[in-house]
Point group: C2
Chain length 270, copies 2
């Protein structure tokens, strides 16, 4: 049932957490779960007593190409059977449950899962059926409860959304993307020399056109412009464009013989 050209979705070497859907109701939700797993780099899916049986074409239709995960999914009669070869079992449960057990946030769980992977231990993540969630007997099979957190005033969480959040945290826990960076395309962040060169060009043209004619205010005005042009990183390509803008503005009107419009008044222009 795999689409041509779909992403290969091959699990990396070593253990990655197994998603166990306990008594899932709708095949569509199994499909969207597979998609969310693929988004977050999870590949192993086990189904405990899916209500409508398995396989179901509607799951593949909802998976947006995460077919290989569904192709490889296994069906189990009980939670015990689904987790028998796992070393650690985490259960997700958005609702408050009156059980005595360790509770982790999704983020802490992801860190723990990565650490278990380092130790080559096999882990399972239990997700309950859409409406009711995991039963007390299911929870008693898990060693740890995962609560995300999310808005307690509105905790109705779609199954695939629940999987998505944990898959996302799993992915991020091993990701080294810098939190903030300037994305450049075919150019580089400008050096301060290039920026100063542009400032020189701009100020020279502003002197020439009379914008900086107030000698007393001139240093402050130049400083203010400098603050603006250094607020964020600028690229060499953007500086070249700005050089062009200044050059064209300063001579364009004359060259094309267009009438000069009424100059806008600026706060410094009195």
């Amino acid at each position: 049932m795999r689409e041509e050209g779909a992403a290969p979705l091959v699990a990396p070497e070593g253990e990655t957490p197994i998603v166990v859907l306990v008594r899932p109701q709708l095949p569509e939700n199994i499909g969207t779960t597979a998609r969310a797993m693929a988004n977050g780099g999870l590949f192993h899916l086990r189904l405990v007593a899916p209500r409508e049986g398995w396989p179901k074409e509607r799951a593949w239709a909802a998976a947006s190409g995460a077919d290989r995960i569904l192709d490889a999914a296994t069906v189990h009669a009980s939670v015990d059977d689904a987790i028998a070869d796992c070393h650690r079992v985490l259960a997700t449960c958005p609702r408050p449950r009156h059980v005595i057990m360790p509770v982790m946030t999704a983020r802490a769980a992801a860190t723990e899962l990565r650490s278990l992977r380092e130790r080559n231990l096999r882990t399972a993540l239990l997700f309950g059926p859409e409406r009711a969630g995991l039963e007390a007997e299911d929870l008693a099979r898990a060693d740890t409860l995962v609560r995300y957190p999310l808005n307690p005033e509105f905790s109705s969480l779609n199954l695939a959304q629940a999987v998505m959040v944990l898959a996302y945290e799993w992915w991020v826990a091993a990701d080294g993307t810098p939190p903030v960076r300037l994305q450049t395309h075919k150019t580089e962040v400008a050096t301060r020399g290039s920026l100063e060169n542009f400032m020189g060009h701009l100020v020279a043209e502003l002197d020439a056109c009379g914008f900086l004619r107030n000698e007393a205010k001139r240093p402050g005005m130049v400083r203010n412009l400098r603050h603006w042009f250094t607020r964020g990183e600028v690229t060499e390509q953007e500086l070249r464009t700005l050089h062009g803008v200044v050059a064209e503005l300063s001579r364009g009107r004359m060259r094309h013989g267009r009438p000069e419009p009424e100059a806008p008044r600026t706060p410094d222009d009195d």
Copy 2:
């Protein structure tokens, strides 16, 4: 169109990020987006040129009770119109785009959004249409690009999933839940005195039944048991149960007159 008994979903005081869906295609996805917003504590929804018009009953049907968000959603002809009163605009884009602009992870964006809220600045989060994502002209309206990160081998992200991840990060950025804790119910974590009391009971019974008869191995065996019983936190209630287990095991068979089964051999039993 609001269900009776639905959560009130009233936005808290102050600014919370506005979700802007740009040219969304399916009303169902607008509904599931509202649900994901509610999960993560986002309340303000704006729609730019929804393909099928607005309002659409199918959105409410998919919102699982997040009706108030849909009831209050506004429709706009353009991105410029939808963000005119906003101070900062972040655009989500899972696909690589060849633009020069700052890129943040979802986590960094959430921190930034919380910080902007502190400064009482209004923020918008742009999400593109389901298939194509935001166009270059849309991106040029944003000051920051948000890339989550997620598995680059499978970046087909459902619209509501995309909203979910950012809403989740927004919620977590202001959440103080301890990463790991033992959830107790009508009981407390046991003191070391209570634990020692139980160990005394256990060891006395093990002495009485002969399990610790090898004097040379006895100290090590007791230490090993102690390591096991102190591995995780235990509650006073669990200790009471364990006291009962030890007491009943040590006298139960005799009292009920049942035959003693063949004793299992242990590594220490030679």
